[in-house]
């Protein structure tokens, strides 16, 4: 991951700015609260949810434990079915492979299915630099692309936009990219969807190259799976002559049967549907059906670093459903952009610092972008213990230097707490001087007292009351 997110402020500052944007706040609150309740209902329909969740976790853990074996099996199966497999250790190599493949077709435009992996490597920007235009075809991606914006949600990249903002973007920008929006476009969602249908149809019908990611890859058969709603995925996956799929290495599952778990848990967690409208599955190439040239680019780009961390590797179980974003009170307020990466929200806060390290200011602040309330873990369909990984990554930030003042304070507190007499003396000092305590603090303490009063200090700590009371009891006996 690179360019676009360089120079992002640390999370607290970006979140503070977002909190000041009332429209953004209202958009996010409306969308996340709508989907939260629906997800809960969709999940409650299945009385074996806990078992499905456990099975999903086990399948992913088993696969990660044998990742090299399953990737080789996948490569063999895809190749046998007529596809070509490429390996990319990092974003630069993946971009190079895709660019060369597109150039080899002689085409200068491609249609794209929404894909987190290609966002992560900033493929569109690299293609543009090589004179190739990539058209995003997912409705929300289209909104982001037309608006020259950044994605702020895994599933719904334009979640920060409300319907009237979308109408304005379509009206002002569609003409620059192709067919303009219909005259008199209103902000009715159905009309906006119709405008996208008309705008993109021409591009689908003439496309020679499609680029996608994949939700799952089946090692034993070489089958790739794309789960979607609108049909833009089906367009990109079936109409072009050439299909290039860029997929993270952690997306492999061992067997065809394993899909029976994820095809139940993913739609319900993601859009709160029993099943998403369209799922495409293809195995290499098929005579007379779909692209006759199929390339699979297997992407590492920091995933093996994540795999090397025994606590952190559970983040690689993620199936990108975004339930953790939708339920997160911090995401709801900070918005996706504050996370400084294409992976926002709780999963982003544990994935980004592992994929690209904790050296930049924003990346080092991400593990702290959580109150550790655990709502994300509760809804995760593959049981990623996000709070556990967050705390684990905080250790990493501390170990690499952390904040000197905080380290000193933590050490002093740990020492005092290991010496009860020192603690008691401190408590008594606080009680004795309690009338002098202000309700607002200077310096670092302002972080607390800018918005909250301090609790009043009692006239004596509990331990003094206890000892006094025990003494009285003793006297009485």
């Amino acid at each position: 991951m690179s360019g676009t997110y360089l120079g992002m402020p640390a999370f607290p500052e970006a979140a503070r700015q977002a909190l000041g944007d009332d429209t953004l706040r209202a958009n996010l609150r409306h969308a996340t609260h709508t989907i939260r309740d629906k997800r809960a209902r969709a999940v409650a329909e299945l009385d074996d949810w806990a078992e499905l969740r456990e099975a999903g976790k086990q399948i992913k853990d088993h696969t990660l434990q044998h990742l090299d074996i399953y990737l080789l099996q996948l490569e063999e199966a895809v190749t046998a079915a007529g596809g070509t497999v490429h390996w990319a250790a990092d974003a630069a190599q993946a971009n190079r492979i895709v660019t060369d493949l597109v150039k080899a077709t002689g085409e200068t435009e491609v249609v794209k299915v929404k894909s987190m992996a290609t966002q992560e490597i900033e493929l569109n920007e690299h293609l543009a630099a090589e004179g190739i235009t990539a058209y995003e075809t997912d409705l929300a991606e289209l909104i982001v692309q037309l608006g020259d914006d950044r994605p702020s949600h895994i599933l719904v990249p334009a979640i920060h936009r409300n319907r009237s903002e979308i109408r304005d973007i379509f009206r002002d920008r569609m003409g620059i990219w192709g067919r303009p929006a219909p005259e008199g476009l209103t902000d009715e969602p159905a009309e906006l969807a119709e405008a996208a249908r008309l705008h993109l149809r021409e591009k689908f019908l003439r496309a020679k190259v499609g680029i996608s990611g994949a939700n799952f890859m089946v090692a034993e058969t070489g089958t790739l799976v794309v789960v979607e709603s609108e049909g833009n995925g089906r367009m990109c996956l079936t109409l072009p002559d050439t299909l290039i799929s860029v997929v993270g290495i952690e997306k492999v599952v061992p067997t065809w049967r394993d899909l029976e778990v994820f095809l139940q848990t993913l739609p319900r967690s993601s859009t709160a549907e029993r099943m998403n409208p369209y799922t495409s599955m293809w195995t290499g190439t098929a005579d007379g059906d779909g692209p006759q040239n199929f390339h699979l680019v297997l992407l590492d780009n920091g995933r093996t670093d994540t795999l090397a961390d025994e606590v952190g590797r559970q983040a690689l179980r993620c199936i990108r459903c975004s339930a953790c974003l939708n339920v997160c009170p911090v995401y709801e307020r900070a918005g996706g952009h504050a996370y400084g990466s294409v992976y926002p929200g709780p999963i982003g806060a544990i994935l980004t610092p592992q994929l690209r390290g904790t050296t930049s200011e924003v990346d080092a602040s991400l593990p702290y972008a959580s109150s550790l309330c655990g709502a994300c873990y509760e809804v995760c369909p593959v049981a990623i213990d996000i709070p556990e990984v967050l705390v684990h990554l905080r250790e990493r930030v501390v170990d690499q230097g952390g904040h000197q003042l905080e380290r000193a304070a933590m050490s002093a507190a740990a020492w005092a707490f290991d010496h009860p007499a020192v603690l008691a003396a401190g408590q008594r000092m606080a009680s004795r001087t309690r009338r002098l305590h202000p309700s607002r603090l200077p310096g670092p303490g302002r972080a607390w007292s800018d918005s909250r009063d301090l609790p009043p200090v009692p006239d004596m700590p509990f331990r003094d009351w206890w000892q006094r009371q025990q003494g009285e009891k003793g006297d009485a006996q």
Binding site: A15, S370, D418, S451, V457
Partner: protein, 251 residues
């Protein structure tokens, strides 16, 4: 049964009234409770901020201080979760790092007998009606670690519902975090305060006279916002309500 009160450092220092309420409540229920003076802090602030190694001596201290008791009762969901959920994890991590099993062994005895107060009342003592009296409207906020780490479930509400005179008001969005989150409240003060203000607004909307939780650390944050905004609702720990009787009502 030898029962120890694990009060927590926050309660010891800032909320001694909660400690006195727990003692009064347990005594009334016939439980003789001790307060081992060797107790200090469970180490949660260190652990959750990324200072796991600094939390280890505090876990050892906890294990020593409470070694001789059959039950350890704490009026804090998050400190209870620290002991029950995170001490074992710390022990395993220390072993995995090749630093021996001394931590894992030290905590093995205390972890299974550590109970959050409402768990102790409902599961161990088997009571939901503790004979309390509190003639006010109360709304209950389930704090995150009690709710999700310890799985307290309906226990606190069952206890409150049995209090004579108490009218329990449903809190909208009850399971949403209040925004305290330990050092999160300082490191991400703006988001934390925004969450807290929404929690307070939800509580005020119920018309309750008191906002009750089973954790004073969250109440410190929520109460700080209530005082700053001058809201007419009182933050109260559940122990203080359960300790209140017709003879000795909470004022």
């Amino acid at each position: 049964m030898r029962v120890a009160l694990f009060l927590t450092c926050v309660n010891d220092t800032l909320y001694p009234g909660t400690g006195r309420a727990v003692v009064r409540l347990l005594n009334r229920l016939g439980v003789d409770v001790d307060f081992p003076l060797g107790q200090t802090c469970c180490g949660q602030p260190h652990y959750n901020t990324g200072y796991r190694r600094q939390a280890e001596p505090l876990a050892h201290r906890f294990a020593d201080a409470f070694a001789d008791y059959d039950a350890i009762v704490t009026p804090s969901g998050s400190c209870g979760a620290m002991v029950r959920e995170l001490y074992p994890r710390m022990g395993r991590r220390a072993e995995a790092e090749g630093r021996g099993s001394s931590l894992a062994e030290a905590i093995a005895k205390v972890v299974p007998v550590t109970y959050e107060l409402t768990e102790f009342l409902v599961d161990i003592l088997g009571v939901t009606d503790v004979g309390a009296y509190f003639p006010h409207k109360v709304t209950y906020h389930p704090t995150c670690h009690g709710l999700r780490s310890l799985g307290l479930g309906e226990r606190p509400r069952q206890l409150l519902a049995a209090v004579k005179g108490l009218e329990l008001m449903e809190l909208p969005g009850a399971e949403e975090c209040c925004g305290f989150g330990g050092t999160f409240a300082m490191k991400n003060a703006d988001v934390s305060a925004s969450m807290g203000r929404d929690k307070v607004a939800a509580a005020v909307s119920t018309g309750a006279a008191a906002l009750c939780t089973a954790d004073n650390s969250c109440l410190m944050h929520i109460g700080g916002i209530i005082r700053r905004q001058g809201e007419d609702i009182r933050p109260l720990h559940i122990a203080e309500i359960l300790a209140s009787t017709e003879d000795e009502p909470l004022t």
